[in-house]
Subunit: 202 residues, 4 copies
């Protein structure tokens, strides 16, 4: 196994265990046992336990950003309605979180304050998401799709909280029951669109 593969393998095992037991209850011993490697090997690829965890999170955040950018590129922005746009945004977000349930579990369960060293990382991530949603709302306002008098700050948090909670519920908590992303997305839209979009006058 080459260096790249070995590092990825360790990350993979660590991710699974962190997701299952959390940062503190996961020992290096657990990881090396699961990865079938020696104790020292972990430290060949990572500075320490923190570094391993942070690497996991940073990979997630990087992937997340790439996924968002990619998804935006794939949207035919000229020819879709505002509703179609928001549908894709939300569905893609859910799809991304669903794709890696371990990371989803880690990220969504983790709160600011878990560990001083992780705080900055998480805050940066949360701020980015809020800005993303706020940006979409702003654009919606400019295009006349979103109510002018909406409280963007609060609504961004409302949507972010809703998406995280729903992701956690369906992808982590009820991970074994079937669910359909299209349906989930539509159900979400049914609830929030009427309150966000300007009502169509006949």
């Amino acid at each position: 196994m080459n260096a790249e593969a070995r590092k990825a393998h360790i990350l993979q095992c660590a991710k699974k265990l962190f997701a299952e037991h959390g940062y503190y209850k996961t020992q290096i011993s657990d990881i090396i046992q699961d990865a079938k490697i020696a104790r020292g090997t972990v430290y060949q690829y990572f500075e320490n336990k923190d570094d391993l965890f942070v690497t996991l999170l940073e990979n997630f955040y990087d992937d997340w950003e790439k996924a968002i950018a990619l998804n935006l590129d794939n949207l035919d922005l000229q020819n879709i309605s505002a509703k179609q746009y928001i549908f894709h945004r939300i569905k893609n977000t859910l799809a991304f979180l669903e794709a890696d349930r371990d990371l989803c579990s880690i990220v969504l369960r983790m709160g600011v304050g878990l560990h001083k060293d992780f705080d900055n990382l998480i805050e940066r991530f949360e701020k980015k998401i809020l800005n993303l949603i706020a940006g979409d709302l702003q654009i919606g306002i400019e295009y006349g799709n979103v109510r002018k008098d909406i409280n963007i700050e609060l609504t961004s948090n409302l949507i972010a909280g809703a998406l995280f909670r729903i992701s956690y519920y369906y992808f982590v908590y009820k991970k074994n029951s079937s669910h359909n992303l299209d349906n989930i997305t539509n159900d979400i839209l049914d609830v929030i669109i009427p309150g966000i979009f300007v009502s169509k006058k006949k």
Copy 2:
């Protein structure tokens, strides 16, 4: 200081520290230092560190339930509109969380999986909240106020996630900036009511 008061004092100090640094980063040493008591005294009132933390959470959950029941009692259910009802429910929830920001911080930041021993507690709490919201939605449907075709399970999670996130944002993260509960509640309602309530035909 009598036994009751001393126990409350320890809980108070522990709460502050848990809120600030999280469960694992808060040491018994920190607590006894803050409470100005001897190391052994903690163990006179609590089985162990877990017990201290769990007591804190259970007190919170008990208070929460009492608050909800009390608030319901205070509502003149016969003479308020569905919108007025939901306004009070949400505002009271926010008010309760706002009242004790340390506990708010602990509860809202804490995720399932942090510690196996706390999982049941948290799950029980989350289930209760979801049921509460689902119950309200159900009643709304029966009274013809809420859309019959709403996905109750998903919407409960949506609302719960939104409320938690908003509480965390305003009461913990931006705890120093001013905010008005009536305004927050109204802004939330503006977003979710149109999608949940049946549209009024003229």
Copy 3:
């Protein structure tokens, strides 16, 4: 055993082991086994292994300084000859080192560079000794007892090196054979006094 006694006890055991095996080959395990205490107890009294070692050295240096000052006080400077003065100075130094052979072993064997954290401590100590000797030589010159054209810097090092080596040889290396401090001191003086003192003209 009270705190003071316990700390002294740990220092005592650590000293013996450090003297016997050196800093690196002495484990905390060895110390606690020798002191018949629990692992954690060491850390109640000392930050870490370094701190334990440094405390030992600092105690030594403090005692050393006190001993020197005390010995000076006890000298009847008005009524003793220069030779008597230097006799007492050297004998007292030897006596001090002889009194605690473990510490003598540690201090005399330890060189600059053993450990970055200890360097400053040792340098400070060595500088002080050199200055002490240089000071005595200076006074001797002023009083017309010591040759004016002596190289004070070199001679200080010569005397310091000689004393340390002789102490190590008799008190550590040959610790079990008998020796007499008066004789040793006189033998030293026989060698160095003729080269340092001005020759008495008749």
Copy 4:
């Protein structure tokens, strides 16, 4: 690079690092990084870290012995005075130590007891030096140059300690300031010769 050269190269790098940081604080990692070789290569030339260090010391001791023998050969014993003889002996010793300051630093800083495995080596070395000096003193006595009543054991240690300390001071501690071996040697002789040599009767 052939085997011989590579081994010498490793020794060279190791010496520098051991001199700078000591045995324990110098890691194999540091050495291979400095020598720009692979980890395993060290073990192709040396059994282990100890062996590397011991080789360094043994080389030093061998060179030392050769140098002493060579220097003796170069002395015209028939036609130099006792004072000239001792001048050369001391100057050559200083010159040898000055020539390789890294080794000088290692050897002079290292004490018995640093590491059980090195103890024998060091003791052997120290014994040899003491015997050398004692031998010279003995010869001096036989030739009537050295006082008959001198304490040879103590004086050997006195001279050895003085030379080591002075070497360390000028060649390691003050390595950057200029100094002159002839002057240093003469200053040493000025101090010790009057006490060692028999006084010339007129």
